[in-house]
Amino acid sequence: MSTPTPQKPKKPAMSIEKAQKARRKFLQSVGLAGGVIGLSLLGYIPVSSAKTPRLRPPGALNESDFLSSCIKCGQCVQVCPVQAIKLGDLNDGFGVGVPYIDAREQACDFSCDAVQCVLACPTGSLTYKKPEFLKISDGAMLAAAPILKAKEKDAESTLNLKERIGVARLARPESCLAVQGKPFKGQTRGAAFTGKMRYMDVDRWKPIPIRDHPYDLELCDLCVQACPVKNALELRPVKGADGVERMTPTVLEPCVGCGVCEMICPAEPAAIVVDARAPWKA
C-alpha cells in the first residue's frame, strides 16, 4: 500500500505447528480423494457380477457401449406410451439412471410404432443405425425388418429395428397351459396387475390395462396372440420326451425379444420368458 516495502525479507521457516497442519490437511485430502474414487469404483461390482443382464430398450447398443454412452437423462422413459422403461438404481452400479425394461411387469409392445425411445435418445445409446465402428454381436442381427402386426395393413408395415434386444424362450414347458392342452378364461395376471397393452380392436393409439381385456380361449395361446411381431411366435405340435405331440409355443427367428409373451403369460412364474441380449440360435 502506501508504505513501500523495502527488500523482501527472507521467508521465515514454517513453524512446526503450521507444517503439521498443512501435512494433516494434505493427508486428509488424499484420504477424501481415495475414499470417493474407491466408492465410485464400487459401481463396477454390480456391472461385472450381474448374473442376468438387464433387458434394455429397443435399439440399445451392446451392454458396455450402452453403459458408456447413456447420459442417464430418462428422456426414453418420458416418451414411452406404456411406461415400459425404468431407470436403474444405485444397486446397478454404473448402471444407475440407465434405462431397462422389466418385461414381466411391463413389456414394450411397440405401441408407439416408431420406437419413440430411440428418437428421444440424445446420445445415440438407443439408435436406429449403429455407427460403423461398433460391432454387431452374433445372433443379434434380424434377418429382415420385423413386421409389426398392428401395422400390417399400413403402407410401411415394418418396425425400424435392426437388432434384437433378446430372445423369448419357453423356460417352463411343464407350466405352459398350451402344452397341457388347457383353456384360458378371464383376466390374465389377475385384477391387480397394472401392465398395459394396445389392442387394435380397442384403440390403436391408446393402450389399455390388460386386466380390462379378459380372454376366453379354448386352448391358451395368449403369448402367440399378444406377440406384436409377425411370425415371431407360433403354437406348433412338438413331440415331448414321452413321444406325445403337444401344442407348444415355438420361438422363431423374427423374435425381437420385446417380452410381451412374458408379460401376458398367465402361469406363475411365467412359462415363457425373454432372455435379455441372448442371440438367436436356429
Partner: protein, 321 residues
C-alpha cells in the same frame, strides 16, 4: 501472472496472493479511508445501522432453482412437455440441452459423439458462457440447495462447539476432475455419474426416489458433521467444468474497494471464500475487480454486504449505459 490466470489457478486450488502492484488510485482510496480513524469507525457503524438486511438475491435464486427443477418435474408428470429429461440431458421445447460435465464424461467414455449430443452440449456451453458458468451450481443444481440448508445446521453445530469444520485442500477438486476424466477414458464407464448427487437428485425428483438418495443423505451428513460444503468445495467436477466455461463470462460479481470496510462478513457466507480474498484489506489492486470463475454468482455476499461494495455486473454493459 495476469489477473485472469491468477483467478483460474485459484479455482484449480492455488492460494490467493497479495498483489504485486496496487494502482495509485486504490492507494489513494485506502489512504483516505484510514486517514481519520474516528471517522472511519463512525462511517462503518452508520453503514451497519442503515443496512437493510435482506435475502433478496437468495430468495430470487431459490425461486429460480425451484422453478427450473419443478419445470422438469411437471413436464413429465403433467405431460406439458416443455422441459423433458433431467439435468444431465433434456429437451427444451424440442431443443437439445446437455449438461457439460455429463457430456464430457460420455464423450470420454464412449469416444463417439453424435450430432444431437454435440448440438445440445454446444447450446448449453453458450448459455453458461453468457450466464457465468458456475451460476449453474447455485441457481440450478438441486444438491446445492439441499447443501445450503444442511450448511445452516452445520454452522449451528459449529457455533455450539459440537462439531468442527475440517478443511481439505481446494486442489482436491482439480485432482478429482482429472481422475474422473481418466477413469471414463480407461474403464469406458461414466464413473462419476454413479455418484453425482446432481444427477441422482434430478432423476429422483422426476422419476421417483430410490436407493441412490441414501448416498446423497450420507454426503449431507458428512457435510453437517465433518466438513462444511465438502462436496461442492472439494469434490464436484461439475463445478470445475462450469467454472472453466464461465471464466470468460461477462456476468460476474464485482468488488468495489472504495465502499468496503473490510469486515469480512461476505467471506463467512461464501461457498468459495477464496474468491473474496480481494476484500481483505490491502489485497485489492484495482478499484473494481471481478471475483473470477470459481464464484457461483449466488449473491449471498451481495445480500450481506452493508455498503454495496459487491454487486452483480455485466462486463461492458455498464460502459454502454
Amino acid at each position: 501472472m495476469s489477473r485472469f490466470t491468477e483467478l483460474f489457478m485459484g479455482m484449480l486450488g492455488a492460494a490467493p496472493k497479495k498483489p504485486e502492484k496496487v494502482a495509485d488510485k486504490v492507494q489513494k482510496i485506502m489512504f483516505l479511508k484510514y486517514e481519520d480513524k474516528d471517522r472511519y469507525i463512525k462511517e462503518k457503524l452508520h453503514a451497519r445501522e442503515h443496512h437493510n438486511v435482506s435475502h433478496k438475491w437468495r430468495n430470487r435464486r431459490w425461486a429460480v432453482l425451484l422453478a427450473v427443477n419443478l419445470l422438469f418435474v411437471l413436464s413429465f408428470w403433467l405431460d406439458i412437455q416443455i422441459l423433458e429429461g433431467s439435468l444431465t440431458a433434456s429437451r427444451f421445447v424440442g431443443f437439445h440441452l446437455i449438461d457439460l460435465n455429463s457430456a464430457l464424461q460420455v464423450m470420454l467414455a464412449h469416444k463417439h459423439i453424435i450430432v444431437n449430443l454435440f448440438i445440445g452440449t454446444f447450446t448449453v456451453f453458450l448459455i453458461w458462457v453468457l450466464l457465468g458458468g458456475r451460476t449453474f451450481c447455485s441457481w440450478v443444481c438441486p444438491y446445492h440447495l439441499l447443501a445450503e440448508w444442511t450448511e445452516a445446521l452445520h454452522l449451528k453445530l459449529v457455533e455450539k462447539k459440537i462439531v468442527t469444520d475440517h478443511e481439505f485442500h481446494r486442489g482436491t477438486r482439480t485432482v478429482f476432475w482429472v481422475l474422473f476424466g481418466l477413469m471414463s477414458i480407461v474403464t469406458g464407464y461414466t464413473v462419476f455419474e454413479t455418484l453425482s448427487p446432481t444427477g441422482i437428485l434430478s432423476r429422483a425428483l422426476i422419476y421417483g426416489p430410490g436407493l441412490a438418495l441414501g448416498w446423497v443423505g450420507l454426503l449431507l451428513l458428512f457435510e453437517i458433521l465433518y466438513s462444511r460444503r465438502a462436496w461442492c468445495r472439494y469434490v464436484c467436477p461439475i463445478g470445475l467444468t462450469y467454472g472453466a466455461v464461465g471464466a470468460i463470462s461477462p456476468l460476474q460479481v464485482s468488488y468495489h474497494v472504495e465502499h468496503c470496510f473490510h469486515e469480512g462478513d461476505c467471506r463467512k457466507v461464501c461457498l468459495v471464500p477464496h474468491v473474496l480474498d480481494v476484500t481483505v484489506k490491502g489485497r485489492a489492486s484495482e478499484e473494481t475487480m471481478g471475483l473470477g470463475p470459481d464464484c457461483t454468482r449466488c449473491g449471498l455476499c451481495i445480500d450481506i454486504c452493508p455498503t454495496g461494495a459487491l454487486r452483480y455486473e455485466v462486463k461492458g454493459l455498464s460502459k454502454l449505459l
